[in-house]
C-alpha cells in the first residue's frame, strides 16, 4: 500500500497489528516458497521473471563477459608489424598497488641509449589484485585487462608471467573488447608509429615473432642475393611481400623511393647518363642512380609497385652487387623512364644504410628532375 507524503509516495506495510492473525501470514509465506519451488524446474532465461532457476552451469555454460570485465593484465602487440605497444615508460610499474609489475627498459646495443621498448616485462599474477590501474594509466594503451579467468594452477611459480606469456595481439583484444579498443585505436597506433621509428633491429617486436621476422629477413636477403637482376620482377618473391613490407626501415626506404620516382617521372625524357653524372661525389649514390637507369633500360617499367619492396635485400653486399650489375646494364641504356621500384628493391636492410641510400636516391632524383626541367 502506498501513501502520499510531502516527500513523495512511501510504501507502508500493513502488518495487521491488532487484527486477528490465525496463521494466514505463515501460510502466505509457504505459498511464496512453493511457487518458487514449482517454478524452479524451468530455466529462467528472462531476468524480468521472478520464478525459474537462474543457475548458469558453469563449466558447460558460460556467461558472455562484458567488455570492461577485467581479470589480469596483458601486453598488446600490433598484428601487422609485430611491434609491441609498450615503451617501457614505467607508469604501470609505478602505479601498481601491490607492486607486481617489473620492467626492464630496452637499450640500443650499439649506442647504449634507451629505446622505447621493454626487453622484459614481468607481472606476478599471483599477487595481482586485478585493480586495472595499470591499464588505466598506460599512456600507450599497451597494457590491457584480459578476460581469461581460469588461471588456477598447482604451481605458484607458473603465475609469474614474463613478456612472452603476456603478449596478446591487438586482434585478440578487439575480439574481447571491440568498443574499448575503437576508442583508443587512433591514438595508440599513432604513438606506436612514433616508437617504431626509434627502435633498431628487432627490439620491441613481440617475442613470439622476433625469430620469425629475423629469419624472414635473412631469407629475403638470400633470395635477393641469388637473383639480384631478376629480383624486381621475379614472381616467387612477391608472395612474401606482406610479411616484410612493413618493417619501418623498409617503409622509410619505400617512402624515399616513391618521392624519387615521382621526381623521376617528371624527368622522364632525361638521358640515362645524366643522374649518374650528377652525383659523382658519392659512390653509393652513383650506384643507386645507376640502378634506376638499369631498370629503365630493362624496360620493366610496368612492374607492380609492391613487389619490389618485398624483395629488398638484407645484405649490404648483395645490394651493392645488384647495384653494380644494374649500373653495368644502365651504361648500355640510351634513354628510359626511371621507375620507382628498382630503387626500393635494392634498399639495404640496415636501417641507417637504407635511409642514407634512400635520401641519396631522393637527392639524385631531385637533381635529375631539375636537370630534366632545365633541359
Amino acid at each position: 500500500m502506498t501513501t502520499e507524503t510531502q516527500h513523495g509516495s512511501v510504501i507502508v506495510m500493513d502488518r495487521r497489528r491488532g487484527k486477528l492473525r490465525a496463521g494466514q501470514g505463515l501460510l502466505q509465506g509457504l505459498r511464496v516458497v512453493w511457487d518458487h519451488w514449482a517454478g524452479s524446474f524451468r530455466k529462467n532465461d528472462n531476468f524480468s521473471k521472478i520464478h525459474g532457476t537462474f543457475t548458469v552451469e558453469y563449466p558447460e555454460e558460460r556467461l558472455p563477459m562484458p567488455q570492461a570485465y577485467r581479470n589480469m593484465p596483458v601486453l598488446l602487440f600490433d598484428d601487422e608489424s609485430g611491434h609491441e605497444l609498450c615503451t617501457g615508460c614505467y607508469q604501470c610499474q609505478r602505479i601498481c598497488p601491490p607492486q607486481v609489475i617489473h620492467i626492464t627498459q630496452a637499450k640500443d646495443p650499439v649506442t647504449g641509449k634507451m629505446v622505447p621498448a621493454a626487453t622484459e616485462f614481468i607481472i606476478e599474477y599471483d599477487a595481482c589484485m586485478s585493480c586495472g590501474f595499470c591499464a588505466e594509466v598506460c599512456p600507450f594503451d599497451s597494457i590491457k585487462m584480459d578476460h581469461v579467468y581460469e588461471l588456477s594452477t598447482a604451481n605458484r611459480a607458473s603465475l609469474t608471467m614474463r613478456k612472452a606469456q603476456l603478449n596478446r595481439s591487438i586482434s585478440y583484444y578487439t575480439g574481447i573488447a571491440p568498443g574499448l579498443w575503437a576508442e583508443v585505436q587512433a591514438g595508440a597506433m599513432k604513438k606506436l608509429q612514433g616508437s617504431i621509428k626509434r627502435r633498431p633491429d628487432v627490439i620491441g617486436l613481440a617475442a613470439s615473432l622476433t625469430e620469425k621476422i629475423k629469419a624472414r629477413r635473412l631469407e629475403l636477403a638470400a633470395a635477393a642475393a641469388a637473383a639480384p637482376a631478376a629480383a624486381a620482377v621475379s614472381a616467387p618473391a612477391a608472395p612474401a611481400a606482406p610479411a616484410a613490407k612493413l618493417t619501418p626501415e623498409e617503409k622509410a626506404a619505400k617512402l624515399a623511393a616513391m618521392k624519387a620516382a615521382n621526381a623521376n617521372k617528371g624527368a622522364a625524357p632525361a638521358p640515362a647518363e645524366a643522374p649518374v653524372a650528377l652525383s659523382p661525389a658519392d659512390a653509393k649514390a652513383a650506384k643507386l642512380a645507376a640502378i634506376k637507369a638499369a631498370n629503365a633500360n630493362k624496360g620493366a617499367a610496368p612492374a607492380p609497385a609492391e613487389a619490389p619492396v618485398a624483395l629488398s635485400p638484407a645484405d649490404a653486399k648483395a645490394a651493392k652487387l645488384a647495384a653494380i650489375k644494374a649500373a653495368n646494364a644502365a651504361k648500355q641504356a640510351e634513354a628510359a623512364p626511371v621507375s620507382v621500384e628498382t630503387a626500393v628493391a635494392t634498399a639495404p636492410l640496415d636501417a641507417k644504410a637504407a635511409r642514407l641510400a634512400a635520401i641519396k636516391a631522393a637527392n639524385a632524383a631531385k637533381l635529375a628532375a631539375e636537370q630534366g626541367n632545365n633541359e
Binding site: R17, G18, L20, A22, V33, H36, W37, S40, T55
Partner: protein, 443 residues
C-alpha cells in the same frame, strides 16, 4: 525375523539350537540392518534437503558428483572422515569425547520400535511410544555435555538453548500424543497404526467402514490439531528452522558443535539428520497411518502371519514392499515440509520460541486432550460409563457427533488462543518500539 531364523536353523538344518540363541541371532541381524539403514538415511536426507532448498531458492543444488549429485553425500562423508580431529586444550577431554556418542546412541535406539511395514517392527513394545520419546530426550544430555565440555561460550550458550528448547517442546509434543493415546487406548506403535485402517473414518470407530488403510488420525479434529502441535514441536526437537536457535550460525557460530571437528562433528550431524528422519517417520506413523494405505491391509491378510500360517510368502513380500513404500513416501514428504518451512521462515528469537511453546502450544494441546476425551466418550462409552444417552445412536451418528463437537471446540480454542497470542505479541512489539524510540530519540 526370529521365526525365519528358527525355521532355517532348527527346521531346515535341524541343529536344535536353544531359543535364546535364536533370539540373539535374530536381533543381531535386525540391529545390523538398522545400523546400516540409519547412516544411509542421513546421507540421503542431506542430499534431499540441499536439492530441495536449492529449488526453493531458484538454484539447482549439488548435481556434480554422480548422476543428479547422487554421490555428493559420500564425497562429503569422505571429506569429513579425513579431517583432523581437534580437541581444545581447555576442553574436558573425556566428556568432549563421549558427548557425540551420547547424542547418536539414542537416535539408534529409537529405531528399535519403529515399524517399517506390516509386521516389520524390530521390537513390538507395548510402551513403544513412551520409549520413543523418553529415549529421544536423552540426547539433550549429550548436547549439554558437548556444550559444557568444549569450554567455549558459544558452545555453552548453544547447549543451554538446546536443552531449554528441547525441554519446553517435549511438553506440547507429548501432550498432543496423549490425545492420540486416549483415542487408541494403547501406547504400542503397532497398535496405533492398526487403529488407522478404514476410509476417512477409522474402522475401530465405525466398523462398517471399508478398510482402505485411510482411516488416519489427521482426518479427525483431534488428530489434526494434535498433528499441527506435534509437528511444530518436532521442528523444535529436531532443531529445524525456524527453531534452529541452538545452532544459530549468525549468532553463536554452530552452538554446541562449535568446538567439534572431523568425524565427531559428523556424528552430531548424523544424529541430527537421523533424528529428523525419525521425527518425520513418527509423524507419519501417528497421524498418517505409517504403512497404512490402499492395498496393504488386504495383501497382509493373505500373507504368512502368526494368525494366518497358510498364507503365501509372495504376499508377505508384496505387503512389505507396498507398506514400506507408503511409509517412506509419507516420511520423505514430511521431510520436504521441514525443508519447505526452512525455506520460508526466519529463525525465531529464543523468547519468541518460549512464548510460542508455553503460551500457545501447551494450552492448545491441553484443550485438545479435552476434545480427545469427548471423542472417546462419544464414540466408545456407553451406559456402563454413565453415558446412557449415546447408547441408542448408530456408530456413524456417534462418530459424526464426536466430529462436530471436537471440531467446534478445537477451532474455538485455536481462534481464541491465536487472538490472545497475537495481542500479546503486538503489545510486546509496541513496547519494543517504545524502547527503541527512547534509545534512539527518533520518531
Amino acid at each position: 525375523m526370529q521365526d525365519v531364523v528358527n525355521q532355517v536353523i532348527n527346521t531346515s538344518f535341524g541343529w536344535g539350537w536353544p531359543s535364546w540363541a535364536i533370539a540373539l541371532i535374530g536381533y543381531l541381524i535386525v540391529a545390523a540392518l538398522l545400523f546400516g539403514i540409519a547412516p544411509f538415511q542421513m546421507l540421503f536426507l542431506t542430499l534431499y534437503e540441499r536439492r530441495a532448498i536449492a529449488r526453493m531458492q531458484d538454484r539447482i543444488g549439488p548435481n556434480r558428483v554422480g548422476p543428479e549429485g547422487m554421490f555428493q553425500p559420500l564425497a562429503d562423508g569422505v571429506k569429513i572422515f579425513t579431517k583432523e580431529d581437534i580437541v581444545p586444550t581447555a576442553a574436558d577431554q573425556w566428556v568432549h569425547f563421549i558427548a557425540p556418542c551420547v547424542v547418536v546412541a539414542p537416535t539408534m535406539f529409537m529405531f528399535a520400535v519403529l515399524p517399517w511395514g506390516p509386521g516389520m517392527v524390530p521390537v513390538d513394545m507395548n510402551l513403544g511410544l513412551l520409549f520413543f520419546f523418553a529415549i529421544s530426550s536423552v540426547s539433550a544430555v549429550g548436547l549439554m555435555m558437548a556444550g559444557w565440555a568444549s569450554s567455549n561460550k558459544f558452545a555453552l550458550v548453544g547447549a543451554m538453548r538446546a536443552v531449554a528448547q528441547m525441554v519446553s517442546y517435549e511438553i506440547p509434543a507429548v501432550l498432543s500424543l496423549l490425545a492420540i493415546v486416549l483415542v487408541t487406548g494403547s501406547l504400542s506403535i503397532v497398535e496405533l497404526i492398526n487403529y488407522q485402517g478404514g476410509l476417512f473414518i477409522s474402522t475401530r470407530d465405525v466398523a462398517s467402514v471399508p478398510d482402505w488403510g485411510l482411516g488416519w488420525f489427521i482426518f479427525s479434529p483431534v488428530g489434526f490439531l494434535a498433528f499441527i502441535a506435534f509437528f511444530i514441536a518436532a521442528l523444535a526437537e529436531g532443531e529445524r528452522t525456524p527453531f534452529d536457535i541452538p545452532e544459530a550460525d549468525s549468532e553463536i557460530v554452530a552452538g554446541y558443535m562449535t568446538e567439534y571437528s572431523g568425524m565427531k562433528f559428523g556424528l552430531f550431524y548424523l544424529a541430527q539428520y537421523v533424528l529428523n528422519f525419525l521425527l518425520c517417520a513418527i509423524t507419519s506413523i501417528i497421524f498418517f497411518g505409517g504403512w497404512q494405505g490402499p492395498g496393504v491391509g488386504w495383501l497382509y491378510a493373505q500373507a504368512i502371519t502368526p494368525v494366518n500360517p497358510q498364507g503365501g510368502w509372495v504376499f508377505n513380500v508384496l505387503a512389505g514392499v507396498l507398506g514400506v513404500f507408503y511409509f517412506l513416501t509419507k516420511t520423505y514428504g514430511f521431510f520436504f515440509v521441514m525443508v519447505w518451512i526452512r525455506g520460508a521462515y526466519a529463525r525465531l528469537r529464543i523468547d519468541q520460541l518460549m512464548d510460542f511453546g508455553w503460551k500457545f502450544l501447551i494450552p492448545l494441546t491441553l484443550v485438545n486432550i479435552f476434545s480427545a476425551a469427548i471423542w472417546v466418550g462419544l464414540t466408545k462409552w456407553g451406559a456402563a460409563d454413565g453415558l446412557a444417552f449415546v447408547e441408542g445412536w448408530s456408530p456413524l451418528v456417534r462418530w459424526a457427533a464426536a466430529f462436530g463437537v471436537t471440531l467446534a471446540l478445537n477451532l474455538g480454542a485455536y481462534l481464541f488462543l491465536a487472538r490472545i497470542f497475537a495481542q500479546s505479541q503486538d503489545e510486546r512489539a509496541r513496547q519494543d518500539d517504545d524502547v527503541l524510540e527512547q534509545l534512539t530519540n527518533v520518531a
